[in-house]
Symmetry: C3
Subunit: 396 residues, 3 copies
């Protein structure tokens, strides 16, 4: 309890401006915003670990819309919503009338009459996902302004084409836990590297989210990928700019080994090259299944040239004292376990397996925190009231 | 709060007989029943707008069964159930063992051991949907009588082949809001008109629900459709009879323009002709996909003869002072937006878009109200207790 | 209330060891364990019938994973979870990333960060379902031990390849209700008989669950099946051993008629022969659809030799005073109702229909009870506190 109270005191000193704001890109948010989300997430976790209920809704819906498969984000969103007292209602487009000419503007209002929060995953189409979220947001603004909606539900980006903020923030929380505090991350070297995978078409949003967030805290960020596997150019530029401002650094190299040298943290993950995703987006929109098959073959053949971009014992030895922290958003393509040849060897993964699970474990609290700060102008005060209320989560 | 108390006083004067009754057709219910549902819906909405929790269940399931796609009714039912404290449990027939020879009688009991409410949408087959709901109802009566069920769950019709009572009642609430009160609807002219759509097979239950409800309150109801597009004959007759009794009028014309003349309200909506739905029902039951394709082609060709049955500026000018209220259950087929040529032009729809959203926004409260009056012999007393309890929906 | 207090007193005398234990096979549990589950289930039912809320969670997730279709178990699990205060979150493998190389170990942790209970149905593959549940259990142990999970969620077997403990325990509860108490079951004769069905591939877990449970309470259990339709040999041996220990008896005969003679209870149900299920498991795993079709034809042809293994008036006459209690887990294959020729005639089924519904009605409470005893070291004390708290389930 003392620990929680101390954290609430720290929270009081921040000036977040997240009240009634959507959370769509970490780089749209101030440093205080990010710190507040991290701190509230920690406090909510501490509360739950101490069997303190953080329910703030007596009833209410939290809508999820997954335009791509998901296990951990789905459960994280459900857990967060439930913890705060909202019931999940999934917008399953296959069971709705959306196909029948319903506009985004309309659907956004129709699902929101009694809803408090909307979480959206839309990461398949370059140039589309984030745009879609903003379109939903505008429709909600419009509905609220015109008296259609009694409240303007908040939106949280559960992964788009540009960023994966709940993942990146959970990863940052993991680093804070691992290295003690946010200050300690200054000067730490993180290698965000492309890795070989026997599948293609993986979104760019995870590596983009990581370089877009970690460059803000004085870290030395190295992005590594084979020629042609670049990310969205604007995000790479943003990372450079942010690193300069925060007193860190950002560079791009074309060798996994080079990026790993003296790294404190390695984040190896497969993604599709930007130019492939651009082609794929057009083909998907045209439902050109022949074209998609052809693109897949080409892309997989291209990938196969870089099978040596895999994390093994040898490569880990290159890192700081041979023991950098390995990170992954999961599921990883693990050679000899989930595929023949993949992003990481079974042996390396096993060594860091529990760490990656803990990394994932922050996500429910990060999401709950984003919801929380959206609903209270003064989150510290609200958390203090929860503490005083002292309601048990479990028990009679 | 004064406003709510005043409404509760008005509610006290009514003598509804809805306690433990299913809500299947509006015309089975007395005028006091309908007034009570409307008033309780308003009160529940006022409460929510004032952050007063109207939870009456500490736990409990509310079962939904959607035999057709749905967005707004699905979310409305979920919102209503959640607001009163019940968790939604969807009976998804594709994931159940119903296909394996389970009878309706049996399933109805199996899903009801701890359930308080069942909402059913079954609007695909003429002669089937409403019958199915009654079959479920009988099975629940039987289960309750024989000690299988501790309570007899209530049933709400979320759209059948005959009526769409939650839609029609939400529409009526919208008209009350728009024109000030129920009394003011007397003598108002409403045009319920068929409209062109590039799709076919749309249920008849919306127009039937509207003419079956609005004729009870002294309105002048004009139903318009091209020759051959009639509704279920018994419902047309019922509308006539009710109009006579309520001091309103009911007539059928074969021109959208004629129906729009001097109309206070226009309700243009596509539907399949009765005789097509009859054929379609047989073909669907026989799984005759060839026959269905042929019928679709014929029906679409027939529809195409009436492309001029679309709402545009010109037609709106025919209405009372050129500014009748446009209504639609959504989604509408909007020319140039969701289809090439449809029920209404983009321009007309845009003008009334916010109105149609507000119209839809009444549905969650209408459903919650139907659930509420099913559970309390004296709903006014129950609402007063909720008011005194004064529990916040959101907050600490 | 007196009745409930008396039952809690009886519960106090038992020494169950179910705290933080999974419920996977009834024969792994002591007699006191089983008696405690039955008694807590009764108490929870009495409470609900008396409008007493038994909510013990303010928030929390209860995860269901159905690898086979289900209606009644799905609703039973949902009801039980909701009654105790948990929200259902379904792990739908088709919407998750599990296919993409995620391991069981990983998924188990990813869905459990804020979950309190996991219910699993996995009954399609011989040798797989129960194994899978234990694999999940081990992963949860590992996650909890390593600080990934704040709590170790409990697991309940909602049907595997070996046992169907929630069904068998609900059936036992039904027998206790019918015959007055557990003691009265001593010496009662129960016939568990194979019955003809026009489908094949039905799991063995129901008959196995019944013979594995009823032989522990001094009952005379007769298992009947045509030659070649044996169950898992180890379970048949276990039944024999348990019957010897409990002072009951267990024998296998190859005639439905013989098993019915003087039976107090008949439990006729179709299942696939063990050797067919063994072949089927291999074919399913190899996705050999040709082989599966061939096996189905062979199996159905084999089944057709035993169409006379159906329950009709004549066979019921053979039972004790011609009025043995008929039991079935539902849905039954009812001749002339759900199929042409099946497990039981329409006439016999109709006579016992309400009994079979009541039988099914125990399942939600059995599941809730299994969850309850997993969470409290001293369930009697917890139930007393609930009684004193005296919170209404429904009402204001």
């Amino acid at each position: 309890m003392k620990k929680i109270e101390k954290k609430i005191k720290r929270l009081k000193k921040l000036k977040p401006e997240l009240f009634q704001k959507d959370f769509l890109l970490t780089w749209e948010r101030s440093e205080d915003d990010l710190k507040a989300v991290l701190l509230v997430a920690e406090i909510l976790k501490d509360m739950r670990d101490n069997n303190i209920s953080s329910k703030i809704f007596d009833s209410g819906l939290s809508v999820s819309q997954f335009r791509d498969n998901s296990t951990r984000t789905r459960f994280s969103f459900a857990s967060a919503s439930n913890m705060l007292g909202m019931e999940i209602q999934d917008l399953d487009e296959s069971k709705s009338q959306i196909a029948h000419g319903e506009t985004v503007r309309e659907t956004a209002n129709m699902i929101s009459f009694l809803s408090d929060y909307i979480g959206i995953r839309d990461d398949m189409y370059l140039g589309e996902g984030n745009k879609y979220m903003r379109e939903v947001g505008k429709a909600l603004d419009d509905g609220f302004k015109n008296g259609v909606l009694p409240k303007r539900p908040g939106i949280v980006n559960l992964q788009c084409d540009i960023d994966h903020p709940t993942q990146a923030m959970a990863d940052l929380q993991h680093l804070i836990d691992y290295f003690g505090n946010l200050e300690n991350l200054k000067g730490k070297k993180i290698a965000v590297s492309w890795a070989y995978s026997p599948s293609y078409g993986k979104p760019l949003s995870v590596p983009q989210g990581i370089i877009g967030l970690m460059t803000r805290f004085g870290m030395d960020v190295t992005l590594a990928y084979p020629k042609g596997y670049n990310l969205i150019p604007e995000v790479e530029e943003l990372a450079k700019k942010q690193a300069d401002e925060s007193g860190g650094s950002f560079k791009i190299v074309d060798s996994m080994e080079e990026s790993f040298k003296d790294a404190d943290i390695i984040y190896p993950k497969s993604w599709a090259p930007f130019h492939v995703m651009e082609k794929r987006t057009v083909l998907l929109q045209n439902k050109d299944s022949e074209g998609l098959k052809k693109l897949e073959q080409e892309a997989l053949a291209e990938n196969a040239n870089f099978k040596n971009w895999t994390v093994d014992d040898e490569k880990v030895k290159l890192t700081k004292d041979g023991k950098a922290l390995y990170m992954h958003p999961l599921p990883a393509d693990i050679s000899g376990l989930s595929c023949e040849e993949g992003e990481v060897t079974d042996k390396v993964f096993e060594k860091y397996r529990i760490d990656t699970y803990k990394e994932a474990g922050h996500k429910p609290y990060i999401i709950a925190s984003m919801m929380f700060v959206n609903k209270f102008k003064n989150p510290a005060k609200a958390l203090n009231k929860i503490l005083k209320r002292n309601k048990k989560r479990f028990g009679i």
